[in-house]
């Protein structure tokens, strides 16, 4: 286990290396950072000094080396829009995004597990048809539109929840459901097919033939074995969850990382983009490793070599 963990942590390095290179090349391709940072009234002398100060006279590989060594120490440069270090700005927004992501994940799991199991148990019934229909619809609707429609019904027409911002629980409901619904739609389909597979296994037939009540067969024998797939599904969803937060945060003016990043892209604020992309990539990689660890705990048959 320890060896496996060490190995997978070591594998992070090349992946982060490629991502950092990509980000670096893209940022250098944006054009002249000096022109972006200086006021229009700057003289030629100012330009030369600024270029020197930023190390832009060095060859590209030296610049990349400087970028990497700074990045490792958490220095992604100064956001010219906010006039502050980029990394603290990014980290400051992280809790709001994680909060939203976790609550949506919980909501989607609570919707998807019962619906998925139900439609697998009642396979090809009307109930199954309705659940499958809703989940296809949930997949087809873009989540920012779902968000706007939720605002329309629950905020504008019923006045139940605030339209935007972060604060109490009532602020959380609409954005979390917006994100949760789309995720639940995908999860329901996957849980349904996993359960169908498991319910066809011999040990389920054996359990049923022993006269064990159906609830225990499903809950204990079938679902516990399906849990591994559920964990996989959840970890796969994590990436789409992050893409989802980017847009949902914009719809609801939720002060998270997504909103910061979208604003940074519109402002061409490269320091923030660099920091945010690398932090999110790191997050995704760590989640993937954690998933593997949870697997191992859930299924002792899995061996890591």
């Amino acid at each position: 286990m320890t060896r496996y963990l060490l190995k997978s942590i070591l594998q992070i390095v090349p992946v982060l290396f490629i991502i950092s290179m990509l980000v670096f090349v893209l940022v250098r391709a944006t054009g002249d950072p000096v022109a972006l940072m200086l006021p229009e009234s700057a003289t030629e002398q100012d330009r030369i000094e600024m270029t020197e100060a930023l190390g832009l006279n060095e060859p590209l590989y030296v610049q990349y080396g400087i970028f990497i060594s700074n990045a490792i120490r958490g220095d992604f440069g100064i956001s010219y829009h906010y006039g502050q270090q980029a990394l603290p700005l990014v980290l400051e927004r992280l809790p709001a995004s994680i909060e939203l992501a976790v609550v949506s994940m919980v909501i989607s799991t609570l919707i998807a597990i019962p619906l998925g199991i139900l439609s697998a148990l009642k396979r090809n019934s009307y109930l199954d048809l309705i659940i499958s229909g809703i989940s296809v619809l949930g997949k087809a609707m873009p989540n920012f539109w779902v968000g706007i429609m939720l605002i329309l019904f629950f905020s504008v027409m019923l006045g139940m929840f605030p339209v935007s911002g972060r604060g109490g629980l009532e602020n959380m409901v609409l954005p979390a459901f917006t994100l949760g619904v789309g995720l639940a739609a995908q999860m329901t389909r996957m849980i349904r097919s996993t359960m169908l597979e498991i319910l066809n296994q011999d040990y389920i037939r054996t359990a049923r033939s022993k006269g064990i009540i159906e609830a225990i067969v499903v809950g204990k024998h079938a679902f516990r074995n399906g849990l591994i797939s559920v964990v996989t599904i959840m970890s796969l969803q994590f990436t789409s969850l992050i893409s989802g937060t980017l847009i949902t945060e914009t719809v609801f003016a939720w002060p998270g990382l997504g909103q910061l990043l979208v604003a940074a892209v519109n402002n061409k604020d490269m320091a923030i983009i660099q920091a945010a992309v690398l932090i999110i990539a790191l997050l995704v990689i760590v989640i993937n490793i954690l998933t593997d660890v949870v697997y191992r705990l859930l299924d002792p048959r899995i061996k890591y070599n």
């Binding site: 087809a140 609707m141 980017l246 990539a281």
Partner: protein
Amino acid sequence: MLAKTFEEKQVSTRSASNRKSKLSKTIKLLFNSKTGTVGLFLIILVTCLAVFAPWLTSFDPAQVNPLARLQPPMWMEGGSAEHILGTDNLGRDIWSRIVYGSRISLIIGIGAVLFSGFIGATLGLLAGFYGGWINAIIMRIADAFLAVPTILLMLVFLAVVGPGLRTLIVVIGITSWVPYARVVRGEVLSIKEREFVKAAQAIGAKKKRIIFKHILPNVLSSFIIISGMNVATTIVLEASLSFLGLGVKAPAVSWGGMLSDGRQYVATSWWVATFPGIAITITVLGVIFLGDWLRDILDPRMKMKNG
């Protein structure tokens, strides 16, 4: 001489009738599947909107009319028969914007999928066929791309190149090739070991011939399956990017951009945001249904896996 041409003729008519019966079989299969039929119907509907746009509306989708701002749809009080689905915050006709918006969705949906499919299939083919360090490099890059959500990569690219129709296709193309590369590589790895490839190698066929004649045709069905699924994702992606203000630029009309206008006026004018969303949902639904059907006939194994 005469006999030969006769024979040739016969062969060619036989293969033509074969092809014909295959086509009619496929069509029959399509109508046997209810969702497949619905999908086809929806896609034809949207394609007709895109193709016949100028005949379906008398308004220029970009024409601003300050006097007709935020008019409700025709069946509501204050609506007029002129603007069937009402007007937006600049007085532009929503129906005509939806009709013209279908063009952008379809062009980007199909264009970007073809482009990313080309990149992905080429890289997957190279990685699977040659193995070794080529495979190692390509798959490491693929891992790195997978570690970052696609839309995030797109944001970074778009921050550099700026919005626009062509850049959008290119950016979506170079950020979403990974699934193609992985699937094609996997297929190539297994096909490479099959007898007919070994036989071709044994009789001294050139690598180029093996790739194009023996491997590529066998990869095609999985390639079509992923492409089908990706058209749906791409249409939603384009709408999302346009919603964030990073998609196509005015005067081009995008459903996502319409939603972003609608978001601001949702408190007073529900129709501005509602109709483009319905348009996206219908289009994506059609693509999903048709894609699922394609998957079922091209790869029956997958259908069993998915219950």
